[in-house]
């Protein structure tokens, strides 16, 4: 359950506590992504050392491989991957619409082909809830229809109507199965004001433990992204957490927090890390979160060959406390996996520190 602890007096930013079956999370927070039951290259010990409060896993990917029965037999996803903190699982909606071929959608659910073995799979809203319950997810996401960008008004309207209809079934299944986890609804409506508002209102009427914004940062302009957030957020009750799915860059997270968003997930810190693109904080008289407070560096750049400073002077992560830019550059040049591992640790530390700083600033009424 969510407890609102504080509202900023200078923005819509909020501090809160979200209680789950595996611990209480301070909001606003960022979720590192463990798509297939593992944050790429990191052990659970390393994830815990980073101070990650929760990780996000992917229902779609885990359902296809290793399959539900394996994770059920293991005693759930927490035991399977040996992660004792909270886990949020997405419903699979986004992946089905972005990754699967030959999908057919109707009111009952969606038929799609497995990208692994081509098998035909049918997923209904009720099944999406049951699967996530078996996985043992602490935060279960309703099944939504997530159209790709660009999205016509007619497509967006269809997605909103179907998502609302499915959300009702998700909620009913959740109640019928007497599930003791958190259940979130997902708002669609693309960039259309009335559709975002309608979607949000319909979900609020059904009643969820939290509200997510889906179908954003898919290619629309930044202005459209923030407007769409605004269209929906004003319909949300203040006593429930709000989750901006799949975002974003540090400056996007800061801006969304100021609008009242509490939860984030994004592949970019980990994906960038694997490509040697690293976040470093810039000493700035206006401090963290000011304009240009960070810089991305390409660690393979020749200028780091003899740079024996840590990646980020202001970072206390394992990579920064124990290794130089020169060494991490060498690992990337030599295609040594440890380079990606250390880079992933650092970029996640940067994001998690950013969230800590954000919470600190809100508590001081500076954000």
């Amino acid at each position: 359950m969510f407890k609102l602890v504080k509202k900023s007096s200078i923005s819509q930013a909020r501090l809160g506590k979200l209680k789950t079956g595996h611990g209480t999370i301070k909001t606003p927070f960022f979720m590192p992504i463990a798509t297939q039951g593992s944050i790429k290259g990191l052990t659970p010990v390393q994830i815990k050392d980073l101070g990650a409060q929760i990780v996000l896993s992917n229902t779609y990917h885990l359902f296809l491989r290793p399959g539900l029965s394996v994770i059920k037999n293991a005693g759930g996803l927490h035991k399977f991957m040996n992660w004792q903190g909270p886990i949020l699982t997405d419903s699979g909606g986004y992946q089905i619409f972005s990754l699967s071929s030959r999908r057919k959608i109707n009111d009952k659910g969606v038929d799609f082909r497995s990208e692994i073995d081509g098998k035909s799979i049918f997923l209904s809203p009720a099944k999406a809830i049951k699967i996530q319950n078996i996985l043992g997810s602490d935060i279960i996401m309703s099944l939504d229809e997530c159209p790709s960008w660009p999205c016509s008004r007619i497509q967006a309207q269809g997605a909103v109507d179907r998502t609302s209809a499915w959300a009702k079934i998700c909620k009913k299944t959740y109640q019928k199965q007497n599930i003791k986890k958190l259940l979130f609804g997902i708002v669609q409506g693309s960039v259309y004001k009335d559709l975002r508002a309608q979607s949000a209102q319909e979900l609020v009427k059904i009643g969820f433990d939290g509200y997510a914004l889906g179908g954003l940062t898919l290619g629309e302009s930044e202005r459209e992204t923030y407007q769409s957030i605004q269209f929906a957020i004003q319909e949300f009750p203040t006593n429930k957490p709000r989750y901006l799915m799949g975002a974003g860059k540090p400056e996007q997270i800061i801006r969304a927090v100021k609008m009242g968003i509490d939860m984030f997930d994004c592949v970019i810190p980990t994906r960038n890390a694997r490509h040697g693109l690293l976040y470093t904080s810039v000493t700035n008289p206006s401090g963290w979160l000011s304009k240009d407070f960070y810089k991305k560096i390409h660690i393979t750049n020749a200028k780091y060959k003899n740079d024996f400073r840590p990646l980020d002077l202001n970072c206390s992560c394992y990579a920064c406390q124990n290794f130089s830019r020169a060494y991490i550059r060498h690992l990337f040049m030599a295609k040594e996996q440890l380079g990606k591992t250390l880079a992933t640790i650092h970029n996640l530390a940067f994001y998690l520190n950013l969230m800590k700083e954000i919470r600190d600033m809100i508590s001081k009424d500076k954000l």
Copy 2:
């Protein structure tokens, strides 16, 4: 310096202590391989947790990339890679003869092309010592000529003569530079009895802190391998450590220990790990080190899909204490790096446990 602690009464196996600038190592021991300054996928914390006493790095690879000046500027290899235990570096001889194209060898040294940028490089015996000293290696290997297999008698004779001549220069350089590390000589001579004996005698006459056997397990028969070890080992003084380079399988290590070998290195536990080939001990009434005391399993095999036992019931490594075969199989099937990392941890734990068991058995006079 080496101290012989005990000799087995039932074989030539020995227990000893080898003192280095970064700590004392119990012999017999196995060196995990950190070719380019990193054990593939593992952090120094994970290496230390495994109980590795020493790691082996590659002069040839590090000289080509990142280059000597970078490691010198870093304050040496220990600081560069953040490993505070002992490091042995090979001289580059083996790599020059197995990896480089267009090499030209004469009495002064060897001319070869960098496999990275094609640049022409000249390495002399004196330079090989100076480079390893700058790296900060605790155990420095002399430069040898290491012919590939098959090796004619004439080739073997030439390699022995040149290796002895170079060994003298290596020793002289080491003395002149007043180097306070351990210096080892490398015996060549392929499978020829008199040549192995000649090579060993000539090196012993020069006088080294330890004696290595090079040019073995390159394709010759097992019988030839062990005979060649025997030809040389009988020429070695008992008060110096003996190192069988590049070997081997667990049963080869046990057999070589019984012949009086003290030091080993091999890529197979780590390379096999990355291919999902894992060492598991077999409960056997005759105990560890008996015939068939271990089994290699292919973790991707379908029969492990729902196998929730640890990789090895007798292993206390991080992978075995925290994860199931089913999870590690899933990681390999999903091409998740964590699978390789956990497999590497386990296979190294298996090898390091093997060495511990060997030392224990020698101390009880059972090996």
